[in-house]
């Protein structure tokens, strides 16, 4: 029991809350080490894995870490990353959605048919495609909460059913090209931030982060609670600023920061906010932890399930739209093949636990980077897709092994 030592002395109430407080940088490092040793790894394994993968591929092919390739990597990540973001949320409540690939394909088919063949307004076509995703999620949520079918089966049926619907909507044409001069295609293919704008975005992001931390620290110290030191806040936001600036600078050596990638990042931040700062997000984690406890705490569990399934399918539809826009076409193979598996693998590799209740929105971002790095690196080495699949499979097993081992270690160390 790691907590044994801290519990023993009967402390005055005021000092009690400072028991675990990290005073100064050294204490912070010590508590971080203790957490890692206790199996609370957080994002550490993914980041280490990503560094290893990048180092290996860079050693094998110097083009890998070139600015051009990294820009490609970011743009390739956006669509499936958006889908993976939805998977993270579903995994948080301990469920699964196997049909995200089909739903993304359905959304791209709806976009192409309504926009190109039926000549709808682009906004209307986009709304129709994304609303279709939301409807699919509503259907799943209804089936799950009303009839208690396992989500695995519901979404497996959805995988087949909506693939069929996608083919039916596309009809005999098979493939429909989106016009290159429509803004949605330009958004996905050609819009990059000018260099100055990318630095401003990086600076503003770091400033906003610092401001949020600072405000929280002020409120907490006003409420007489342990708060982060100004030095710590400065160091954290300084690191973030430096990282974002360097990243923006490096990408700017080539085409720069893609607007579609920025859109994906914004989605991650928004979902992260919803998960950590709202009652809905708290309820999502609670349901993933214990459905029974959540129900007894007065959470309307059914609504949470429905909202989560809807969010996942909606994000899958958004991902499908992004993918179609990037390819400037929707065809019968949109959303099929590895889309499904890569999205789910990305969420798991990024650190969303399959057992529910653990993970953050940033898991989607980190996980999709790992997946796309492997795919991009192996493609650069002129390796066949057969090898790519096999290696991605191995990485997935490794990631789940890390999850499983750290879970066992957490249990032994008495952490959730």
């Amino acid at each position: 029991m790691t907590t044994g030592k801290e519990l023993a002395p009967p402390l005055a109430p005021e000092s009690q809350e400072r028991l675990f407080s990290a005073e100064g940088m050294r204490a912070a490092a010590v508590s971080l080490l203790a957490r890692i040793r206790g199996g609370d790894l957080g994002s550490l394994p993914v980041i280490v894995g990503l560094v290893v993968i990048w180092a290996v591929f860079q050693a094998l092919n110097p083009v890998f870490l070139s600015s051009t390739n990294l820009v490609n990597l970011t743009m390739q990540s956006a669509a499936i990353g958006t889908i993976a973001l939805g998977i993270v949320v579903v995994l948080l409540v301990g469920e699964i959605d196997l049909s995200v690939g089909s739903v993304s394909g359905l959304a791209s088919a709806i976009l192409a048919v309504t926009f190109v063949q039926l000549q709808w307004n682009i906004v209307l076509a986009l709304v129709a495609a994304i609303a279709a995703g939301a409807l699919v999620g509503l259907l799943y949520g209804f089936l799950y909460t009303r009839f208690g079918l396992p989500s695995f089966v519901i979404t497996l049926a959805g995988l087949l059913g909506f693939l069929g619907l996608q083919l039916w909507i596309l009809g005999d044409t098979g493939s429909i090209g989106l016009p290159f001069d429509s803004w949605i295609v330009e958004f996905a293919q050609q819009w990059y931030l000018p260099a100055w704008a990318s630095y401003i975005v990086a600076g503003l992001t770091a400033a906003a982060y610092a401001w949020i931390l600072l405000r929280r620290a002020r409120q907490r110290s006003a409420a007489n609670l342990v708060s982060q030191s100004y030095l710590g806040i400065g160091i954290r936001s300084g690191f973030l600023m430096a990282f974002l600036m360097v990243a923006a600078w490096y990408l700017n050596l080539s085409r720069g920061v893609g607007v579609m990638f920025l859109f994906f990042l914004a989605l991650v931040v928004v979902v992260n906010f919803a998960l950590t700062r709202t009652r809905w997000g708290r309820a999502v984690y609670a349901v993933g932890g214990s459905v029974d406890a959540s129900r007894r705490a007065g959470i309307r569990v059914d609504r949470i399930y429905i909202s989560v399934f809807m969010l996942c399918s909606t994000l899958a539809a958004v991902g499908g739209v992004l993918a179609a826009a990037r390819l400037a076409s929707a065809n019968q193979s949109s959303g099929t093949g590895d889309v499904n598996l890569n999205a789910i693998a990305a969420a798991v590799i990024g650190g969303a636990s399959l057992f529910g209740g653990r993970g953050t929105a940033f898991a989607a971002l980190l996980g999709i980077f790992v997946i796309q790095s492997i795919s991009s690196g192996l493609t650069l080495l002129n390796l066949d897709s057969s090898v790519i699949f096999m290696i991605t499979g191995i990485v997935l097993v490794l990631a789940v092994t890390v999850d499983s081992l750290s879970r066992r270690k957490r249990a032994a160390a008495g952490r959730a």
Binding site: E6, L7, R216, Q219, A223, R282, A283, G289, A293, A416
Partner: protein, 306 residues
């Protein structure tokens, strides 16, 4: 124990969220008259009477299958009674759902605690009732009130920002009890709070129960442990085979007496005689009589019925 408890009482002072109510002390808050519940052919409860005062710890004891859990579930709104009346502050009420019970001010801590292991102490305490500023969670206020509450209970929790999975059994029980106090209930029902605990942790929870009494809550303690009952309860209500089998003032009895009542070695003749008669309608006069009986020893609720 009492000296320590007194010192804690002084510590409470102004930071208390839920001040004990001095004006309404020692009145029955919750009264149950001749309540019955059957499941198919099984009569789980027959004509059971029960009441709880403010600032009083009532032990509900009995053998397995005596109807303790059924009574607790009736009070907490999980089941609805088939017959009988539940009065809250002298007014007949219907407790149709757990939400109804909570609204009335009856909080129940079930044996499985119903905590989310992956959430921290603050999140568990406020689950489903989170405080907000605008649309976002007010973590600062929730954390502050959590500390206030835990201090009032003199609870030993290492940090309110660690997942409850890392807490010991006693600490988890403490968190569950603290959570039940969030809605400022007047009755707290504890279902076997010490069943899975070691010696030190049991002592911790018993101390907690005494502090609940000091805060003015009426506490219903369901327990199998005579030691716990003798240590903290003011009064013990014995159920046997779904019927009342005596009400005892803990100060006046030994655990042998209680065990005898539980096992039926002392078959309460008064209770048996009373239950053979048709159930009279509950009345105000009856409540007064029951209050009179409160202080007497070894008498059934119906003992004084003419």
């Amino acid at each position: 124990m009492t000296a320590a408890a007194g010192a804690n009482g002084e510590n409470m002072t102004s930071m208390s969220m839920t001040q004990p109510r001095p004006g309404r002390s020692r009145d029955p808050v919750l009264t149950v008259h001749a309540i019955g519940k059957r499941f198919g052919a099984v009569r789980a409860l027959t004509d059971v009477d029960f009441w709880v005062n403010e600032g009083e710890v009532v032990a509900l004891i009995g053998d397995n299958g005596a109807g303790k859990s059924t009574l607790v579930k009736l009070l907490s709104g999980v089941y609805s009674p088939d017959s009988g009346v539940i009065e809250y502050d002298g007014e007949p009420v219907e407790i149709g759902s757990p939400a109804d019970a909570q609204e009335l001010g009856i909080a129940t801590v079930f044996q499985d605690l119903a905590l989310c292991d992956n959430l921290d102490v603050v999140a568990n305490l406020w689950l489903g009732r989170e405080l907000r500023t605008g649309r976002t969670l007010d973590e600062v206020e929730m954390e502050q009130q959590t500390w206030t509450l835990l201090r009032e209970l003199s609870a030993k929790i290492p940090s309110v920002r660690i997942p409850v999975a890392s807490l010991s059994g006693g600490q988890r029980q403490t968190v569950a009890i603290a959570r039940s106090l969030i809605g400022d209930p007047r009755i707290v029902i504890l279902d076997e709070p010490t069943a899975a605990l070691g010696v030190a942790q049991t002592a911790e929870v018993l101390g907690l129960i005494e502090r609940l009494r000091e805060r003015g809550h009426g506490v219903v303690l369901v327990s199998h442990s005579m030691a716990d009952v003798m240590a903290v309860a003011d009064r013990a209500v014995v159920l046997r085979l779904g019927r009342n089998n005596g009400v005892y003032n803990i100060a006046d009895v030994t655990s042998e007496t209680l065990i005898a009542a539980i096992t039926g070695a002392v078959d309460n003749a008064v209770a048996r005689r009373a239950s053979d008669r048709p159930t009279p309608e509950p009345s105000d006069a009856k409540i007064i009589r029951m209050r009179d009986l409160n202080s007497r020893r070894g008498r059934d609720l119906r003992g004084g019925t003419p």
